[in-house]
């Protein structure tokens, strides 16, 4: 075992895949300097043939990545802050997601877009506001042709990024930008985590299912401890991948507990949480003993600095919602 942080887990996944396949290339801004958020430290110096440093043109270099993928490369396109994905959305939404369909299955776009999502507000930290701290994951849930990967812990980032790079379809790989320094003891062994059936039950329980991603996981863990002291047993699930969603584990859990909280940093309106609830209601609305609850940010742009924490979910939101459900 060794200690690993999220940013070094990403760099390690990239390095391991470059060593296995010379067509793995990193495309993005500031790559020589280790990447804008420090997720590629050392890669450019060790593997100059496998990187292409770009001027500031997210739209252009995202399309460029799609083109390189069509010619046989396996690009990792770094968009730094996920907020910047909006500049690259044409390449992702109209390009990468459609090219296989437009050639009736002949072409594939084995590209991985890497995006730092979310902010610091959940840790009461100083955030970078409305264009650098958003969680934009749900924007991409409604586009057939894409896969959406949302790990939190370093070990998951390492294993799931390796699987994303190897995948022959376009994958959006979101890591939590405010958790780059999150530490974890990680095995030295070589492993990948498949994108299918990826949900991980982090804590078993019988009274309530909490489905949480990224920065909501540590909050949910704390809430689960508090709730345990009050006699409420929480089952905590990290879906880790949203497309393809591990429906089976989620539905089994909700059938067992009959209560559901879904938590994410994004505003609650129109988020992927609604999609999970759709799956449950279409399966059997009778499995819910109480109304479901989505915990997320207020439906507002995010203020910079200390203002960020005001609109982000906190541990008490989980505890209050769970207690209300279990009354």
């Amino acid at each position: 075992m060794r200690q690993l942080t999220v940013n070094f887990a990403i760099a390690e996944a990239v390095e391991k895949e470059i060593l296995l396949d010379k067509n793995v290339v990193v495309i993005g801004e500031d790559i020589y300097n280790g990447g804008g958020l420090g997720t590629y430290i050392g890669i450019a110096q060790k593997y100059p043939e496998n990187i292409i440093e770009m001027p500031i043109c997210e739209s252009g270099f995202s399309h460029f990545g799609n083109g390189a993928a069509l010619a046989g490369a396996r690009p990792i396109v770094d968009l730094m802050f996920s907020d910047f994905a909006t500049i690259a959305t044409d390449a992702i939404y109209n390009g990468a997601a459609k090219m296989r369909f437009c050639t009736l299955g002949e072409a594939s776009v084995p590209i991985t877009y890497v995006l730092g999502d979310g902010g610091m507000g959940t840790y009461d930290g100083v955030g970078s506001g409305c264009n650098h701290s958003q969680s934009v994951i749900s924007l991409f849930m409604n586009c057939p042709g894409l896969k959406v990967v949302v790990p939190h812990y370093p070990s998951d980032c390492l294993g799931l990024l390796r699987a994303s790079i190897r995948d022959n379809d376009p994958v959006l790989f979101f890591y939590h930008e405010g958790s780059l320094g999150l530490r974890e003891q990680v095995t030295e062994e070589d492993y990948i985590i498949p994108l299918t059936n990826a949900a991980k039950i982090r804590r078993e329980g019988k009274d309530i299912t909490i489905i949480a991603i990224q920065s909501m996981l540590p909050l949910a863990e704390k809430a689960a401890e508090e709730l345990a002291a009050k006699g409420i047993s929480v089952e905590l699930i990290d879906p880790r991948v949203l497309i393809p969603l591990d429906k089976k584990k989620i539905i089994e859990s909700v059938k067992k507990t009959g209560r559901l909280i879904i938590a994410h940093e994004a505003p609650t309106r129109g988020s992927f949480a609604g999609e999970i609830i759709r799956e449950i209601v279409e399966e059997d609305p009778g499995m819910l003993k109480a109304p479901a609850k989505v915990i997320g940010a207020m439906n507002s742009p995010i203020g910079s600095g200390f203002a960020e924490a005001y609109i982000m979910p906190h541990v008490k939101d989980f505890v209050e919602a769970a207690e209300k459900m279990c009354k």
Binding site: S59, A69, M99, K147
Partner: protein
């Protein structure tokens, strides 16, 4: 003037140019008969572009096309499958699902047409990425990206010129400046009517050429491709005039240059100009012109008839999980 092409090449070019004109006339007829349900973008007045570009390219070079480059696509795909495609029928090159604006064939042994995403300005950067990886793989093919001048107002095209110059990509950018994007004339699109000068600002060499003289055009494209093959990306801007509206059926009230169109039809018709060149050279006579016209008409009619016999694509022809995801088991439900 002698441009150094063999008599056979000159006559083959003539056949394709004439074919482009006759094909378009017949397709216009097909649109008004209701055989074509999608937008058809007539290349009247611009036919020399497709012919010159595709004949200058090696078969191993990759084409990034515009929807007005039908002749180049016919050259690569064949007329009948192309026509069936435009009719939206299952004998089309992509089962009638792509029409003439979402085609693409990336197989090494295919016809090497690069996909054209439907959002303007997104083709050039995709083609640049493709060129970069081909170069990285040690291939010596050239990527020819043809874009209209309207497309060049998109920021991604500027981004592409910038990257192409930085990375020394094996690319020729052909800008077809037909003076009209959809319904906006060049004078209202940009204050600099020479689009290639904007590419020049990124460090790309450029040349402007008269698009109604197929031999001048062909020579410029030949030279541009030769440079691109040495990884010297460059630009050829073709000046011509779109005679018609953007697509057939679009109201044309916006055009305030109809006297220019009439003058172009009279004096700047690429087919007539080339016919005169070949007549003056003594390479063809009126009987030859009539013979080629009859052959082209027969070929187009035969293809029209055969293509129209095809059927509509079925649901299963188009919608399959494996057409959406390479690993369909990871893609979820349809």
């Amino acid at each position: 003037m002698d441009y150094g092409y063999s008599d056979k090449e000159l006559l083959d070019m003539y056949y394709e140019l004439k074919n482009a004109r006759i094909f378009t006339l017949k397709m216009e007829d097909a649109v008004y008969k209701g055989l074509i349900r999608s937008a058809f973008h007539t290349p009247y007045g611009q036919e020399a572009t497709g012919v010159a570009v595709i004949r200058a390219m090696k078969d191993s070079d990759w084409l990034g096309y515009t929807h007005r480059l039908q002749l180049a696509l016919i050259h690569r795909y064949g007329m009948q499958p192309f026509m069936a495609e435009v009719f939206g029928l299952r004998d089309g090159c992509l089962c009638g699902s792509a029409f003439d604006y979402h085609l693409g064939d990336l197989r090494e042994d295919g016809v090497r047409v690069l996909p054209m995403p439907g959002t303007l300005g997104s083709g050039p950067p995709v083609h640049a990425g493709f060129a970069w990886q081909r170069k990285r793989m040690g291939k010596d093919d050239v990527i020819v990206d043809v874009s209209g001048e309207g497309c060049c107002s998109e920021g991604t095209v500027y981004e592409t010129w910038n990257i192409a110059a930085l990375q020394k990509l094996p690319m020729l950018f052909v800008i077809e400046n037909n003076q009209w994007e959809m319904s906006v004339p060049i004078k209202r699109q940009t204050a600099n009517y020479n689009i290639c000068e904007k590419a020049g600002a990124c460090g790309l060499p450029y040349k402007i050429v008269d698009g109604t003289n197929i031999l001048e055009l062909r020579k410029a494209i030949d030279e541009g491709i030769a440079k691109a093959r040495k990884c010297e990306p460059n630009v050829v801007e073709i000046k011509n005039l779109r005679w018609g509206v953007h697509y057939l059926g679009m109201p044309g009230d916006y055009r305030d240059d109809l006297e220019l169109v009439e003058a172009a039809k009279r004096d700047k018709d690429p087919v007539k100009i080339y016919e005169k060149y070949l007549l003056d050279k003594g390479l063809i006579d009126q009987a030859y012109i009539d013979k080629v016209a009859a052959e082209c008409t027969a070929e187009v009619d035969r293809c029209l008839e055969a293509a129209a016999k095809s059927e509509k694509p079925t649901f299963d022809d188009i919608y399959r999980k494996e057409y959406i995801y390479a690993n369909p088991e990871t893609g979820g439900d349809l």
